[in-house]
Amino acid sequence: MIGLVKAEVRKLFTTRLWWIMLLVMLVLIGVNLTFITAFAGVTSEAGGAALPARDTAEWVQTAWSVGSGGSIFVMILGVVMITSEYRYQTVTGTFLTTPRRERVIIAKLITGALVGLLFALVALVLVAAVVIPATLLSGGELSLSESRIPQVSVGILASLALYGLFGIGLGALVRNQIAGIVGAVVWAYVVESIFTAIPVLHPVGKWLPGGAAQALMSIDVDTGLGRPEWLPAWGGALVLIGYGLLFALVASATTVRRDIT
């Protein structure tokens, strides 16, 4: 199995997509951080501040959680890791080398999670490099317990790893690269945001991958729309793992077993 995981890692790092994804993720997180830093504590005409000021623990927590923005890229990478095998028919060679196909899927799930961890680490380095100087220069104090940096960081690591897993499961099920990527993007940006933004839908939303990822980070900030009732962090982790494994299991029983012609 170690050999198979190594093979999957080689597959990923011998093509160019991974660093393009990493770069885009860093740009997106960078832009988000810039806005959050620039508009921190700025009061609107109505009088209320949209964002807490830079020297507060709440701002640190909000800014820190921007690192979770990498999840969509990890998910897409996961989808591509499996669908590109079908697209370029390298799946033939893969299954000739490892005829027990479920072993290939397991290796890909592990690799997807590892890649998620790697992306999360890079994202956290960027976040730390921006947020820590920003709050200290604004006269704030960096209190790990109040700003919940450890919890949010672990949440980001876990959610990106699990989104990698999720992407693999999704890709195995869909097999078609375009359908898989479009599905992932629509899901993350349309479906998930509807269910996590509208309070009435929270009872459903908390069981979706996005809600589960929020639960993992257990961010405790009032967004003005009411404090959402997420699952406990471990519950969020279980939900995300559940989706990835469920997809992978269903895929192993259906699409993965299909004839390779």
Binding site: G3, R10, K11, S84, T92, G93, T97, P99, T261
Partner: protein, 296 residues
């Protein structure tokens, strides 16, 4: 030793019977051609053999086992399927290194394999820039990684230039005859394999039509002798009297069946007829192939 055994294999895609009860064997140390027109079921048979397609019924075994149950498949069986199965953005060497690590083979096998198929110089080039012939060589290189004793190739000559085809012929013959490998090579072009193979399996419309050695197939049936003679009017009745079937093709040209060239010569001598041409009409493989596959 039987390296490959196909027994009553059947596979349908929807209502199309791609393979319909095919049985044959391939022995170690020989090159066997798997022949048939396009769409005859060759590729489906090979993919069943390699565990990529699940047959509806029957068995396809390598070394007496199903491919999927082999503990180290790439060290026992090498397969060359279609030429396009590479990621265009990945280098030739990386493609093989990925397969090496997945199969538990040492990484150096990747470079050795590339050298063996003549791609050593382009090992670090992206496959997207490769010609069809280079991709075929790369596919063969990936099949050789585990030094298998059984080699299965699906239309390997597609896209190869004449020099490449010549090289492939020599390579396959060497593997089979010097190293004792069992080689099964499919083709729809007979001329490609005619000079390479020991045995021939012919399939048409999903059904097996003939299995035999190359010699058996070509000498089978009516082998006739064409004769030009000074006086066919005298010679023809004499040949018929000796039990031959004689066609008077045109003035001065006879087609004789049922006698060999020596017997014909002796009768001509007895009749004091001068033979100006005696030719053994070899029923060539192409003709047999077209007859058997019903494509004439």
């Amino acid at each position: 030793m039987t390296a490959i055994e196909i027994r009553d294999l059947a596979k349908s895609f929807g209502s199309v019977k791609a393979v319909d009860g095919v049985s044959f064997t391939v022995e170690a140390g020989s090159v066997t051609a798997y022949l048939g027109p396009n769409g005859a079921g060759k590729t489906t048979t090979l993919r069943c053999l390699l565990g990529l397609v699940t047959p509806d019924s029957g068995e396809a075994l390598v070394d007496g086992r199903r491919y999927a149950t082999l503990p180290q498949p790439v060290s026992e069986v090498g397969a060359v399927l279609e030429a396009t199965s590479f990621h265009p953005g990945r280098t030739a060497l990386d493609h093989l290194r990925i397969l090496c690590v997945a199969a538990g083979l040492p990484d150096q096998r990747a470079r050795e394999s590339l050298e063996a198929v003549g791609l050593g110089d382009v090992a670090d080039k992206r496959v997207g820039a490769f010609s069809l012939g280079m991709r075929q060589r790369l596919a063969l290189g990936s099949a050789l990684l585990g030094r298998p004793k059984i080699l299965i190739l699906d239309e390997p000559a597609n896209g190869l230039d004449p020099a490449g085809i010549e090289w492939l012929r020599g390579f396959l013959r060497h593997l089979a005859h010097e190293e004792g490998a069992a080689v099964l090579v499919s083709s729809h072009v007979l001329a490609e394999v005619e000079q390479t193979v020991d045995n021939v399996v012919i399939i048409a419309k999903g059904r097996l039509v003939r299995q035999g050695t190359l010699a058996e197939l070509t000498t089978n049936g009516d082998s006739a002798i064409r004769i030009r003679a000074s006086d066919t009017a005298t010679l023809a009745p004499a040949l018929e009297a000796a039990g031959a079937a004689v066609d008077r093709v045109e003035d001065g040209l006879l087609r004789v069946r049922g006698l060999d060239a020596e017997a014909v010569g002796r009768i001509a001598l007895d009749q004091r007829v001068v033979l100006t041409e005696v030719a053994q009409e070899r029923s060539d493989l192409q003709k047999v192939f077209l007859e058997l596959t019903g494509e004439r």
